[in-house]
């Protein structure tokens, strides 16, 4: 024991100490007025059975919730950039100042979008044990990022000349970073899968996390694409 040498015996209200009412029948059993309803009773029993047999891998849902919450924060970064784009647009007498993005850019972004959507379809199969699916997903993610780099490199926009170039470049590169991060996560999940150390529940949780990230990428990509398209046409 460390410095906390004399912990009290236990919390005053605890699982050990609680005196639960005795069951009267298998179905009606043991619930007081707070816990009623068949679904709740069944859920509690499921928990009891799982915990009782040592199944203690319930962290997947917490991980998924954590990643979702973190994605909300990253989404706000993206939305703040969209707000900046909109603010600069409405406060600028001429928009865009240097013409619209090239058609090759828009076309390559469509390719990226479709590749991202394909990933989402494939993830379900990946969870169910189709071993090549994560590899295909990772390869398609590579296509997304490659298309993105191609699109950004081919753009005739300089970040430093006008605010339009700066905000478009920043916005699109940010989405590119999102895509690269999602790709890294996909590869990481694939690697973990290959190690063979994951249970089916852990694989499902990991797949759900990867899926969330790709939904996020596709969502931000769609918004960016529409924004650039509409912004470019407004001239």
């Amino acid at each position: 024991m460390s410095e906390h040498d004399a912990p009290s015996e236990h919390a005053p209200v605890s699982a050990h100490d609680a005196v639960a009412p005795a069951p009267t029948s298998p179905d009606q059993a043991v619930w007081n007025e707070e816990v009623t309803g068949r679904a709740r009773v069944q859920a509690a029993r499921r928990f009891a059975v799982l915990a009782g047999r040592g199944d203690r891998e319930g962290g997947g849902e917490v991980l998924v919730a954590g990643v979702f919450t973190a994605l909300v924060a990253v989404g706000v970064v993206f939305l703040a950039m969209v707000y900046s784009y909109g603010y600069l647009w409405i406060s600028s007498p001429v928009w865009p100042p240097e013409g619209s993005p090239s058609r090759s850019l828009l076309a390559s972004e469509v390719v990226g979008l479709l590749a991202g959507a394909a990933l989402l379809v494939l993830r379900g199969r990946a969870v169910e044990g189709v071993r090549r699916a994560p590899a295909v997903a990772a390869a398609l993610g590579g296509v997304v990022v490659a298309a993105y780099v191609f699109a950004a490199a081919g753009r005739d926009l300089d970040l430093t000349v006008t605010a339009y170039g700066g905000i478009v470049g920043t916005l699109t590169w940010t989405v590119g970073v999102f895509a690269a991060a999602a790709l890294a996560l996909t590869v990481g999940a694939w690697w973990q899968e290959r190690q063979g150390a994951l249970s089916i529940r852990q694989r499902r949780a990991l797949a759900a996390v990867v899926t969330q990230c790709w939904w996020f990428v596709v969502g931000t990509w769609t918004v960016t694409w529409v924004l650039l398209f509409v912004g470019a046409r407004s001239a």
Binding site: M1, S2, E3, H4, P7, S8, E9, H10, A11, P12, V13, S14, A15, H16, A18, V19, A20, A22, V30, W31, N32, E33, E34, R40, A44, F47, A48, A51, G52, G54, D55, R56, G58, G59, E61, V62, G66, T69, A70, V72, A73, V76, V77, A80, M81, Y83, S84, Y87, L88, S91, S92, L159, T160, A163, G166, I167, G169, T170, G188, Q192
Partner: protein, 636 residues
């Protein structure tokens, strides 16, 4: 049901301690992930920054004590008020509240740790390195001087060509990353790890306030990160987001900054009100009156705070209709704030108040915060704001709100929970004296500033002419600031003394109602031997039988016996806190420290334009992340 011979309790404690305690020595210090250790580190680091920011404030007041004073040069004055505001807002107020949240929230909801303990540790190291980087500017001689809001174009490359603003931007970025990670932790914790039976209507008000705070941080902090990123790109790469000559707009910074900045005020106020609710309930022996209304008020404040940012920009030339809308929203937020004030007053009225130090701080809070609220309603009116803007009236207003509304509740909370932190009681007489000295010093300092502002004294100006007649009030204000500083020092000194020499505290010295008082003071590494089960809003006062069947309770009791030495906690459902599963948390690791250090090195490389350092830091950060994710340490 099979009867199992229970192991002796001592063995149970030992097994739990083996599973949950940090390794001894320096390695243990660097690799600690336990929420109590990390929470206290946030708290004491923030207190250290409070002293730094306080000394900066006193120097500013010394300069203003008399007309045409020359104790400080104009440049140094600008640097000091910038660092004072930045330190207090970014390095003291929010982090100390985060620290309290990290320490207390798991205890109050009856769990053993945060959901992502290593992320928690990473957040602390980011905060520490960000704070050190910001203050390193004092040593390097390149001190930020653009105000805590760093308005463009003053903070842009043309008018601030030195590295001072880069220190500010990168330090703030690290601190904000820590804040966002803390928010993620708190939200998931409060939604998925509450004790079985603690449904949404039974969450302690302190925890509700932390949930609202975390949600606001999750939305507000990324906005200032974006603003900082764009400004840093403008400064380093030349992308002209805020440069009007190249199609940018300097007002964009103000919008982004205040979309963050105004909620930031409520990010500090909301948890402070949670502290007040906890203190009032414990020291009056009565549940807070109108719990549902107080929760609704907390949520309303959280939502409404995102619709107020323009009231910081009433004088920049926005359309009248916009001014009207934001003025109405600014008035309206007084309603939920008032609901809480009346709920506390009614609770004190209905209960049996015991006038210990925390309650005196609460009374100081109520009086001061209400006065600050009145002047807040005044400056929410565009015509008045046009007169008072950028004057000392505004300085007085926000110090009434931030010190009265945030610092006094924090001090109430530190005194109230000190027995939990240390197992010892602070001296009550010294605590009350420090409260009195602070209250007197505070009002002597800041009340005259209202008058100075109405007489036309501008803020952020390093001196004033003799014939303006502001000397006397300024001298009084400066004298008051030293009295206030003495009160703060007395308060912290009392805690420092009690840490080693204070009398031993009983387990629950205030007979409070929440679960942190149900375990030892200080709590063991695992918080609770048995999983608490909740059957009411005040678990320590409710003695009803828990609403779970014997089989579920038996399964929960398994948590007292760590499976393979793992750090196990129970996962519950979001709304009714039904037990869903048991899962394991990762143990101590130096990887969070490595990751934060590498990230700081990378950002420092950007700061000093030494790209090999930046790339090396980024590579190290990538390595740390891969190592971290490759084996999260939850299963051993």
């Amino acid at each position: 049901m099979t009867e199992v011979l229970a192991p002796p309790r001592r063995t149970v404690h030992q097994a739990l301690d083996d599973a949950w305690s940090s390794p001894p020595g320096l390695l243990g210090f660097l690799s600690a992930v336990n929420h109590k250790q990390i929470g206290l580190r946030f708290v004491w680091t923030a207190v250290a920054f409070l002293f730094v920011g306080g000394i900066e404030a006193l120097l500013v007041r010394v300069q203003l004590a008399r007309a045409e004073n020359d104790v400080l040069s104009p440049e140094t004055y600008n640097q000091l008020f910038t660092m004072h505001g930045t330190t207090m807002m970014f390095l003291f107020a929010v982090p100390i509240l985060e620290g309290l949240a990290m320490y207390l929230t798991p205890l109050q909801i009856g769990t053993r740790d945060m959901p992502f303990p290593r992320l928690n540790a990473f957040g602390y190291w980011c905060y520490l390195f960000g704070g050190v980087l910001l203050n390193w500017s004092l040593v390097s001689g390149s001190v930020p001087d653009g105000g805590w809001f760093a308005y463009t174009p003053l903070s842009g490359p043309e008018f601030s060509p030195s590295r001072a603003l880069d220190f500010w931007l990168i330090g703030i970025t690290l601190v904000e990353i820590a804040g966002i990670l803390g928010a993620v932790e708190l939200i998931v914790l409060l939604l998925k790890q509450r004790a079985p039976g603690m449904n949404l209507a039974r969450i302690p008000l302190f925890c509700w306030s932390m949930l609202v705070m975390a949600t606001m941080m999750l939305i507000a902090f990324p906005v200032v990160l974006t603003a900082s990123l764009l400004l840093e790109l403008e400064r380093k790469v030349g992308a002209p987001f805020y440069d009007a000559a190249a199609g940018g707009n300097p007002l964009l910074w103000q919008h982004l900054f205040w979309i963050f900045g105004h909620p930031e005020v409520y990010i500090m106020l909301t948890p402070a009100t949670g502290i007040v609710s906890a203190v009032v309930a414990a020291h009056t022996g009565r549940r807070i009156v109108a719990y549902p209304l107080v929760v609704a008020a907390l949520i309303s404040v959280g939502i409404a705070s995102f619709g107020l940012w323009v009231h910081h920009m009433f004088t920049v030339g926005l359309p009248q209709v916009v001014l009207g809308l934001f003025a109405v929203a600014s008035f309206a937020i007084a309603i939920p704030s008032g609901v809480q004030i009346f709920a506390w007053i009614a609770t004190i009225w209905e209960g049996v108040p015991r006038w210990r130090t925390p309650m005196w701080f609460v009374m100081g809070f109520i009086v001061t915060f209400v006065l600050g609220g009145f002047t807040g309603v005044m400056v929410a009116s565009p015509p008045f704001d046009g007169q008072a803007h950028d004057s000392y009236f505004v300085v007085a207003h926000f110090h009434y709100v931030l010190i009265g509304g945030v610092v006094f509740p924090i001090f109430a909370g530190l005194h109230h929970w000190f027995p939990t932190f240390t197992g010892r009681l602070p001296n009550e007489r010294v605590g009350r004296a420090s409260c009195g000295v602070q209250l007197v010093g505070f009002h002597i300092t800041f009340f005259p500033q209202h008058l100075l502002g109405l007489q036309g004294m501008a803020r952020r100006v390093y001196t004033y002419a003799e014939d303006l007649g502001w000397d006397a009030l300024n001298l009084v204000s400066t004298a008051g600031s030293f009295v206030f500083g003495a009160g703060v020092t007395l308060f912290i000194g009392n805690l420092a003394w009690a840490r080693r020499r204070g009398p031993r505290s009983p387990r629950d010295p205030w007979t409070a109602d929440t679960l942190e008082w149900s375990t030892t003071a200080p709590p063991p590494s695992y918080n609770f031997v048995d999983q608490p089960v909740v059957s009411g809003r005040s678990p320590q006062w409710d003695r009803q039988a828990p609403a779970f069947d014997a089989q579920t309770l038996e399964a929960l009791a398994a948590l007292a016996h760590p499976h393979r030495g793992r750090r196990e906690v129970v996962r519950t459902s979001v709304f009714d806190a039904r037990p869903e599963a048991i899962f394991s948390l990762p143990g101590p690791s130096v990887l969070p420290l490595c990751a934060a250090l590498a990230l700081s090195v990378a950002l420092t490389g950007v700061l000093v334009d030494w790209w090999p350092l930046a790339i090396g830091g980024a590579a190290g950060f990538g390595w740390a992340l891969v190592a971290w994710l490759n084996g999260n340490g939850a299963h051993r």
